[in-house]
């Protein structure tokens, strides 16, 4: 029997206008979009009154901590947290313990996700063995096992010669590389953005150039090889500038940023609250504005979460010792809607592209990332009028380290549909 689901009474985005439309799903695919569709007896229904039916969000960058640090997150809890944030596909970084640098590790995640995750999980393999920056990992074998990209996320491949080889080889192995841009000599043992706030707090600074010299390097390497490269978590004005210039001259570079870089600045670190210790660090207002401008004009292609769960023991310690990162799935859309759309900086359509269509294109996923007949029925049904206070204890992620704690956001995910099945429903 073919499973059918009808989403009734909702609205969809059509050329940036919200128009009433019902969405009929059969066998995991969208089959019809029209107003006033009637369900037959075999069709389940969702009442989407007051809800906007958006394509499900696709996260290019998250950490699921499985295997090795499952006290922080695992594939089941991470998948659930993602579903609660309206994500239908998530790409997890390989810096687990052990790290995902070979085909069996990729298979482990694929298998476990199939059994435990309510959303689609796509592993990203390491570029180098052990993420040590020494020898290439088996990129082709990892791709065969299901990896969608490769990254040594958490560090840069410091050896430029090796990175060049990796970019060259990855193209023929059918993978693209995601670069975590951080020159470790420049970043040193820094913990926060270099600037006035770091100086006031007396915390060790990370200069913007630690990111920017690597962004510049990856752009130049991709340009000379005429190959693709994707820049992870762009956080500085200088990086946005480099990307804009590179795209203008046709370099095959794409980039993502994260909600915290367009929503917050390093003012947050002045109280020494380690939840705001992020890598790359929260920057200054000029950087935040540049990131927003980059999102608006297409310099930055996608919003990713860099969902980085950490348990209290890793965060409730001295600032230098505390782990870097914030959870992000459950606040990403609301942060985007609050800071970018509601504030008038971009349309809901653009935000949706940044969270669905563009990441789908970067990943080469076809027939997903839009609400269209024939596309995968991966959907996020959101209430744009819901205000909510971010209470860490209520997050579904195992970890509660969110930079948005205590903040009022607008926009809440009510249902998440993955392949025509309800993966999440907010019952509150």
């Amino acid at each position: 029997m073919i499973r059918k689901l009808l989403i009734q009474n909702g609205t969809i985005l059509l050329k940036n206008k919200l128009v009433p439309a019902d969405v009929l799903i059969a066998d995991g695919k969208i089959v019809r979009i029209a107003p006033g569709l009637k369900p037959d007896r075999a069709t389940e229904t969702i009442d989407a009154k007051n809800l906007v039916v958006l394509p499900g969000f696709i996260d290019l960058h998250c950490h699921l901590r499985d295997p090795g640090q499952t006290h922080k997150e695992n594939i089941a809890s991470g998948g659930l947290s993602a579903a609660a944030g309206g994500f239908t596909s998530i790409c997890c970084m390989p810096n687990t313990e052990p790290c995902v640098d070979c085909a069996p590790m990729v298979s482990y995640i694929v298998q476990k996700a199939r059994e435990e995750s309510p959303v689609r999980v796509y592993p990203i393999g390491a570029i180098t063995k052990g993420r040590k920056g020494g020898e290439l990992a088996e990129l082709g074998l990892m791709r065969e096992a299901g990896a969608v990209a490769a990254s040594d996320d958490g560090c840069s491949v410091m050896n430029a010669g090796l990175m060049r080889t990796a970019l060259e080889y990855a193209a023929s192995a059918g993978l693209f590389l995601i670069s975590h841009c951080e020159d470790k000599n420049l970043a040193g043992d820094g913990a926060v953005n270099e600037g006035y706030n770091a100086s006031v707090a007396g915390l060790k600074p990370i200069p913007r150039a630690a990111e920017e010299v690597m962004v510049a390097r990856e752009i130049l390497l991709a340009e000379t090889l005429n190959t693709r490269v994707h820049i992870a978590h762009v956080s500085t004005k200088g990086s946005v500038q480099l990307l804009r210039e590179a795209k203008r001259r046709g370099v095959r570079v794409t980039a993502e940023t994260c909600p915290h870089y367009f929503a917050l600045t390093d003012d947050m670190i002045l109280t020494y609250d380690t939840d705001y210790k992020i890598n790359p660090p929260l920057r200054e207002e000029a950087d935040r504005q540049a990131v927003i401008a980059g999102l608006a004009d297409g310099t930055i292609d996608a919003i990713a979460t860099d969902h980085a769960p950490h348990d209290p023991d890793a965060k409730r310690v001295e600032f230098d010792t505390a782990a870097f990162g914030t959870v992000g799935f459950e606040t990403a859309f609301a942060a985007g809607y609050t800071y970018l759309v509601k504030s008038g900086l971009m349309t809901l359509g653009r935000l949706s592209e940044l969270m669905s269509a563009r990441p789908a294109a970067i990943l080469g996923f076809e027939k997903t990332g839009a609400v269209k007949a024939g596309f995968a029925a991966d959907l996020a049904l959101v209430n744009l009028n819901a205000f909510w206070n971010v209470e860490p204890a209520r997050l579904l992620s195992k970890s509660k380290n969110t930079v948005f704690k205590g903040m009022e956001l607008t926009g809440k995910v009510k249902y998440t549909v993955v392949g025509g099945l309800v993966a999440y429903e907010n019952v509150r």
């Binding site: 600037g195 006035y196 007396g202 020494y272 310690v317 001295e318």
Partner: protein, 303 residues
């Protein structure tokens, strides 16, 4: 006047509070020099918890606590459960259980006293945290300056040396600015913090510029490790450009004083002759340290 249980820094502390502490410290100094024991904090436990080395600050706090009849106890971090991996917060809980009223903490990480303060009932005094603040050092420096000049308004203070890594510099900048002094800082660019101009200080490139017309010449200790990390090429080169010596001091106002928080690297950031000379108040600073710490402890414990 001071409502908080903790004293973590001079940033944003109103000058009236500072003045209160300094006023009280004058009486404390008299009592301390006369070997009189005060009883205002009798029986209350004051614990020094030092994660970094210290001679004068820790000794000074212990003497101050004892001079107030408090129970002073030192927790030697190297031989304590910290060495077994006990966390800072757990340490705080333990000290609360031992009925500590004040914990004086020094730590290499900025914000560690704030973390401890947030997670324990006892009051926390910051005795130096990373590159952030060392408020009691600035209080004793201010006490020393006030003893010599009677006040702060319009005084010209040069702070020279490793400003970037110095918690002493930051606390002095906050306190002295609140008091109305004019501050000039001088350091090689690699030892100057980002955004220094926003601290409300004048930045000069040479010691000569900074010393000209100054009332106070304050040299900071240079950590020799900074040279290994390449922040300056050699001790000799540093000495050539940033050594506070008689020749530089001669450019200051007559009656100017020479200060140093100690411990001194003689011949590196300050010449031995200047440190030992008539204009030097360096040993007086140490005595005054006990007085201001007595005043601060009493302020926090008297409630």
């Amino acid at each position: 006047m001071w409502k908080e249980k903790d004293f973590l820094g001079l940033k944003d502390v109103p000058f009236a509070v500072i003045e209160n502490i300094l006023d009280s410290a004058a009486e404390m100094k008299r009592a301390f020099l006369a070997s009189e024991r005060k009883t205002s904090c009798a029986g209350k436990a004051v614990v020094t918890l030092f994660y970094e080395n210290s001679t004068r600050t820790r000794a000074s706090f212990e003497l101050a606590a004892k001079a107030l009849s408090a129970n002073a106890m030192n927790l030697a971090v190297a031989t304590s459960s910290v060495a077994k991996g006990e966390s800072l917060i757990d340490n705080g809980k333990t000290l609360d259980a031992l009925q500590a009223r004040i914990v004086v903490i020094r730590h290499s990480v900025a914000g560690a006293p704030h973390l401890l303060a947030k997670n324990m009932a006892a009051g926390v005094i910051n005795a130096g945290d990373g590159m952030n603040e060392h408020p009691t050092q600035a209080l004793l420096d201010m006490f020393t300056i006030r003893e010599k000049f009677g006040g702060f308004k319009g005084l010209k203070v040069l702070i020279a040396g490793d400003i970037k890594h110095s918690r002493v510099a930051r606390s002095n900048i906050y306190g002295l600015r609140a008091a109305g002094a004019e501050i000039t800082v001088c350091a090689p660019a690699t030892l100057m913090p980002a955004g220094i101009e926003r601290f409300g200080v004048r930045v000069v490139r040479t010691l000569r510029e900074g010393a000209a017309g100054a009332d106070v010449l304050m040299a900071l200790r240079l950590q020799l490790e900074r040279q290994k990390s390449g922040m300056f090429p050699s001790a000799a080169e540093y000495n050539r450009f940033y050594n506070l010596n008689g020749e530089i001091a001669a450019l200051a106002k007559s009656g100017a004083i020479v200060m140093h928080p100690g411990p001194i690297n003689r011949g590196l950031e300050i010449s031995g002759a200047l440190a030992d000379g008539n204009s030097s108040v360096i040993t007086g600073q140490v005595t005054n340290g006990v007085a201001v710490r007595m005043a601060l402890l009493e302020m926090l414990l008297a409630k």
